[in-house]
Each structure stands twice: as structure tokens, then as C-alpha cells.
Symmetry: C2
Subunit: 229 residues, 2 copies
């Protein structure tokens, strides 16, 4: 009997912040295995069509969620004989952070957001994959511009601080936060744009500098005492 | 014509320190493509034999270099239509740091050490892979116990500091270095073991605490001002 080829897939952990909580986008599977279950958007690499695995991830995300080209980073590869009932498989996993407004469960049939802290059992090793992605995002957020991708294009510093706090899971001192933003040197004020919806004085509106739209700004020092695993 | 299966391989970036310089172990290829060229130790995943990709990497390293189970970490996956002349391929890459004494070019035919700073062109995208591994090792070394794997089982603090300096490429202040080692809390003194080969007073000999033999000790703060890319 000829040996079965290894199953080569790509999966994407798509994260957003909703209700102050990090959520992952899951899609209802229409085919076995695990038909009807909610799993990460993903699928087979198409060698005739995809230049590389990143290209496959971009295609998958666009086909299955309608999202085009967010900042995607490789999380790692999950592989082995045990993770897929169909046979020995490889999943090259990417993660992306996007503003919640871009994910529209109402317009994408079968799409669901689940809070990462209350995940049910997921098909394959997808729960393990989501938790690894969340871990990576939490660690990387403490010294980089990563959480900015969860905001819309423009935001105030108090809004951005709230996003960092939601990811890191702890309050950040306002002065330290502003010092860290200065150090990262990734934001620019939007000329003449102020948010005046609050009782206190209007807040300046910022956006990411263009050179950091597809590249992280990084600092050598974590914002918290926490460390990578 | 049936579609050709994707080529699924594992490669290992095996690094050591020799002559104060970080070196990568390369093996002469005995088959095409690039027969006769020096490339990373690696090969096809064997689904009937390997539990997962890490298991395949351990097997490859043992078969091709005689090394058994050093600390291996996944670097990332390199993939696409262009990297291998045989077709669309995936290489899941792991890296390992080992004491130079464990790599014995004389006993392993075709094995060669090359300084990572003077790499010639390598087959496939192996040069890009080695440089990515070196980048990862440099960044991770600045806040972790990773460089300890380059030492033998026992070492003095001046020797360990020299190893950190060789990896980070810059001198480290002795007091800061010792403070960082205390913070990482990964070393234990070997009872009654002193190194007295030098003119100054004998130096205490240390080893890694057993809980860190297969797991990194990490700090939230970099030893240098440098940052991850």
C-alpha cells in the first residue's frame, strides 16, 4: 500500500477585543471530521495557488472571513500522528489581531466569537493552539506595539491604554504607559483631531506611524514584571 | 496528472561556540539536489516512525550527528514553491545549542563547522534559516539561560560571562551580569568545586539547576538595550 501523504494545512488564530475581553474567531465546520463543530479558520495548502504558507493563510482568511491582509505572524507549527483523525498532519499556524468592527459574525455565516478565557473543547488541537497564541500575544504586547492592531485606525491614549490593560490583564500606571509609548516612538498625533465626548478636556487622537503598519515597534523592556514562557 | 504531494522535511540549526565565535554545524549532502554542498542536517519526516516534527528532529540529529536529545526549540517553518527545486516544500526548523566538545567533525564524516558571521551561500534557503536562528538566539540570550547550553555541564561565572558576551557581541558589566544571574536563579554551586588554574583566587564552579536542564529560565528585562526584530 502506498504511504498516505502528510496532510498540510494552515490555520489562523484571529483575535479581537470585544466587551473588554480577548475573543477568538471560530468557524462552524461543514465537513467531517468534527462537522458542525467550531474550529479555527483554516484549510489545506494549495500548492498550485499558494506561493508559501503565509500566502495560504492570507487566502484562507479572505475566503472564510472576508478579511484582507491584516498583520499576520507565524505562531508555530503543530504536527504529528495524533492531532487529526485523517492521518499524520502539519498545521502551520498564524495569528492576527484586528479591530472587532472588522469581524462581522452577522454577515459571515457560521462565524462565532468566543472569549479566550472561557473556551470550550475545540476540534483537533485547536484549543491548545489558541492558548499558545494568547500566551504569545500577552508576552509580546508587554514590550511592543502589537495591541495597536486591536484598535481602529485612530484612537486616544486612554483608549489605547485600556486595550493594553485588557491584554496584559492588569492596570498600568498612566505615566509609565505614556513613557513606554514615547520610547516605542510608534504613534503620531492626527493634526487637529480631538475627542471631546467626555467631561474632562478633549483628548488628542493618534494613529500608528506608517512604518509600523506592517511591522511591530519593540522595546527591550517589558511593561510588566512578567516573562515569556 | 495527480498533484505532487508537498515535500515535508525537518531541519536543525545546531550551534556551538568555538574560538569565541558562534558556529553552525553543516553536513555535506550525498544526494541531489545540491549534492556535495554543505547544508543543515535534516531530512524527510517519516510518518510511520516519527510521532511529530520534534520527534523527527531528534531522530535526524541522532542519525546524522550522533547527538542525543539536546534542548531543541522550534524556530519556525519555511515553506513555498521556490525554496526546493524538487517542488513545493515545508521545512519545520528547530535549533539547538550544544558545547563544542559534543560536535566532533573528525568522527562524523562530512560534518563541518562554519562561523555564522562568515557564511558562504548555502543550498535551499538554509543561509536565511541560519541567520534567523542566530537572530533568535541573540535576542533570547539577552534575557534567558539559553547560552548555558553552550557550556559544558560545569563552568565558572567568568567563563559563563564570556559565553554571554560572545553571543551578545558586546562586553557586559561584571556586576550587572552577576545580578542578572541571581535574578534568573538558574545556577547552583557545585559543592567544594573550585577552579584554580588562574593567578587570581580560585573561582567557584557552577552548574544549571536540574529544573532548567530542559527548560529556559527567563527574565522580563534584556541584558542589553537591544530588542527583538
Amino acid at each position: 500500500m502506498p504511504q498516505k501523504p502528510i496532510i498540510c494545512t494552515v490555520d489562523v488564530v484571529l483575535l479581537c477585543l470585544q466587551g473588554g475581553v480577548l475573543q477568538v474567531a471560530l468557524l462552524q465546520r461543514d465537513k467531517p471530521p468534527f462537522a458542525g463543530g467550531y474550529a479555527l479558520p483554516g484549510g489545506y495548502i494549495h500548492p498550485e495557488q499558494d506561493t508559501d504558507a503565509l500566502d495560504a493563510a492570507v487566502r484562507m482568511l479572505s475566503e472564510k472571513t472576508g478579511l484582507s491582509s491584516p498583520y499576520l505572524e507565524q505562531l508555530g507549527t503543530f504536527s504529528g500522528a495524533a492531532r487529526d483523525p485523517r492521518g499524520w498532519s502539519i498545521s502551520i499556524v498564524y495569528y492576527a489581531l484586528v479591530p472587532a468592527e472588522l469581524i462581522e459574525p452577522d454577515r459571515t455565516p457560521g462565524l462565532q466569537l468566543q472569549p479566550v478565557n472561557q473556551l470550550k473543547t475545540l476540534p483537533f488541537d485547536h484549543k491548545e493552539i489558541v492558548l499558545a497564541a494568547v500566551d504569545r500575544v500577552r508576552n509580546k504586547s508587554s514590550y511592543s506595539s502589537l495591541p495597536v492592531y486591536l484598535c481602529g485606525e485612530q484612537f486616544t491614549l486612554p483608549r489605547l491604554q485600556a486595550v493594553y490593560e485588557a491584554i496584559l490583564g492588569e492596570p498600568i500606571n498612566k505615566v509609565s504607559f505614556r513613557r513606554k509609548m514615547d520610547e516605542l516612538d510608534m504613534l503620531e498625533a492626527v493634526d487637529g483631531a480631538l475627542e471631546s465626548g467626555r467631561a474632562n478636556r478633549p483628548a488628542q487622537i493618534y494613529r500608528l506611524k506608517s512604518q509600523y503598519r506592517n511591522r511591530l515597534a519593540l522595546s527591550g523592556r517589558s511593561m510588566t514584571g512578567k516573562v515569556e514562557h
